[in-house]
């Protein structure tokens, strides 16, 4: 089963006068359980691509289907919920919520997902 299916994805940044074509027509399929690494020189569009399949950014053109959901068609609030339940991020500089303890940091996402306290406490111990 395909977990990620990317079809002809383009991303053009229009923020400045000069248009930046960051990603040009990517097609990619990743199967469930498959391990994939994306490599390339600095500025080649790795982060832009990952942001798009992570639901942080929308493609200018093309289709991104993650876990059978076309995330390019989701509005911003649906996209947030999609991220909450489907995506895990590890950022370049690892980000934690500094005012919370390690345990609370783990618990925080689960709490937003509406997982009960008992279950949260059980799960925390596995981390």
């Amino acid at each position: 089963m395909k977990i990620i299916d990317v079809k002809n994805v383009h991303k053009i940044y229009n923020e400045s006068e000069v248009k930046v074509h960051a990603v040009r027509g990517i097609d990619l399929e990743i199967e469930e359980g498959e391990f994939a690494a994306i490599v390339g020189p600095s500025g080649s569009g790795k982060t832009t691509f990952l942001n798009m399949i992570g639901g942080l950014d929308n493609p200018t053109e093309g289709e991104i289907i993650v876990n059978n959901t076309n995330i390019g068609a989701l509005n911003s609030s649906k996209l947030i919920d999609f991220r909450l339940y489907n995506i895990g991020f590890v950022f370049q500089a690892y980000n934690l919520i500094p005012v919370l303890t390690a345990k609370e940091n783990v618990e925080f996402i689960m709490q937003m997902q509406g997982i009960s306290k008992a279950e949260r406490e059980k799960d925390q111990l596995n981390y």
Binding site: S77, R83, L100
Partner: protein, 476 residues
């Protein structure tokens, strides 16, 4: 969890948050405390107006207020009988009132209002008998061949029936308030009698070789003040038949209320004596004053009396002292206006602080949104931070000011030496007992929370509008 994060976020930058908390605390102490002083002053004023001056209800001849002429009397028995039957009526005082001139040997004369009263009725209705000054006689209890009169301290000074003399007792009083070296120097004036206040002050400043402050003058003149009780006052007025009536009275007692306008005008003699002199029949009166248990029973009694005696002028205290009614109602509004302005100013400070708090956390906010924190939660988190910040300062401010009000509400704030004359000239006591009601405290707490919410709207909107993909890449 959002509560937990918000609360902890408030204390990430302790100094910055503390500055805001202290600003809110001080702002609220200022607002609540000055409001409490005003409320206390007005409540005291209403209390003294009702208990010393106008009572709850007054009844007059309908034409009496036009000119206060002596012929506008009315028979009082039926009214008194009816009023006594009303619920909540505590006491009734029947009075004759005449505009007159008062003269003494040392004074050219001054205009006064003579109240002809029944002392027993009056003791139950007004508190003037309680306000007879120390060593200043009694409220119609002394024996005399001449009829007795009770006048105020203010009028006594005006009519020159006072002396200024520093005695042993004066020095005992002064030792509590004044510097020993001043007292030593002032001893030169011991037992020297001055008939006028300004002569006494002049001599005092000469012997102390300083210009005395207002507070010192107050202390020295009050300690030296003596009343020439049993002095004779001649009161003259036009009687009911247009004849000039003149009669001598002996001072029985000297009172002082906190309203010097009232004090300057009003003197009290027995109704029977005034009626006999003026030619007023014994069953007639100019004024009936009714004291009730509370404002509610007063409103009921007022309604009943007004309906029963349409031919007479029946008025409530608020009709008799409309300024006071206005002040009482305005006070409620004043307190909130003051608090709202203070909080408005503080609100801008909070907006600034919250904007700073967001600007330095853009990356973290982006990360939270990336991992699935929705806009409602982000908005709620920022709102809560602002509310926590404001409410911490707010509650501290309210607690401190409540303590201040409770302490000073017991001891009173004594401005008698500094502003006594000024405040008493407009009827307010210069010994102020600040007062605050639970309603105001709850109202203020709600306003504080509202300030926190309103101040957070702009910063929270800014946070919500962040693009998580960009925010996580920022450098802070």
């Amino acid at each position: 969890m959002i509560f937990n994060i918000s609360w902890k976020n408030v204390w990430r930058n302790k100094t910055r948050s503390l500055v805001v908390v202290i600003a809110v605390t001080l702002g609220l102490i200022g607002g609540v405390f000055s409001g409490a002083i005003m409320v206390g002053m007005v409540k005291q004023r209403v209390y003294t107006a009702i208990n010393n001056e106008v009572s709850h209800i007054q009844i007059h001849h309908p034409d009496y207020f036009a000119n206060k002429e002596i012929q506008y009397t009315f028979p009082f028995h039926e009214i008194v009988d009816f009023a006594e039957q009303q619920d909540g009526v505590r006491s009734i005082a029947v009075r004759s009132k005449v505009m007159a001139m008062a003269n003494t040997s040392g004074n050219a004369g001054t205009g006064i209002m003579v109240y002809g009263i029944n002392p027993e009725q009056e003791k139950a209705t007004t508190k003037i008998y309680n306000l007879i000054l120390e060593d200043a006689g009694t409220y119609f209890d002394s024996e005399s061949k001449l009829p007795s009169v009770v006048i105020s301290q203010k009028l006594a000074k005006k009519l020159n029936v006072v002396n200024f003399k520093l005695t042993d007792k004066s020095f005992e009083i002064l030792e509590k308030h004044e510097k020993p070296e001043f007292i030593e120097k002032a001893r030169k004036l011991k037992d020297v009698l001055f008939r006028r206040e300004k002569d006494f002050i002049h001599a005092l400043e000469d012997s102390l070789q300083v210009k005395l402050s207002q507070k010192q003058l107050y202390n020295f003149t009050n300690a030296a003040l003596e009343y020439k009780l049993r002095s004779k006052i001649v009161i003259s007025f036009v009687g009911t038949h247009g004849d000039l009536v003149q009669s001598a009275f002996r001072i029985s007692g000297i009172y002082k209320t906190t309203n010097s306008m009232f004090d300057e005008m009003n003197v009290f003699i027995k109704k029977s004596e005034l009626d006999a002199l003026a030619g007023i029949e014994a069953n007639q009166s100019h004024e009936i004053a009714i004291l009730c248990n509370d404002f509610k029973s007063s409103a009921n009694a007022y309604k009943e009396l007004k309906a029963k005696f349409p031919g007479l002028s029946v008025q409530e205290w608020s009709d008799l002292q409309p300024d006071l009614k206005m002040t009482t109602e305005y006070m409620n509004v004043y307190f909130y206006i003051l608090t709202i302005f203070i909080l408005l100013a503080l609100g801008f400070g909070i907006v600034n602080t919250m904007l700073m708090a967001i600007l330095e956390r853009i990356k973290e906010l982006g990360m939270l949104m990336a991992v699935g924190m929705n806009k409602v939660r982000v908005f709620k988190m920022i709102m809560l931070e602002s509310v926590f910040l404001t409410i911490t300062g707010g509650i501290t401010g309210i607690i401190i000011s409540t303590f201040l009000v409770l302490i000073l509400g017991n001891t009173g704030i004594d401005l008698r030496a500094l502003y006594g004359d000024g405040l008493e000239a407009v009827g307010y006591s210069a010994l102020i007992y600040p007062e605050i009601s639970l309603k105001y405290l709850i109202g203020t707490t709600i306003l504080v929370i509202l300030t926190g919410i309103v101040a957070a709207i702009y910063p929270a909107r800014k946070a919500v509008k962040l693009n998580p993909a960009e925010a996580v890449r920022t450098d802070n």
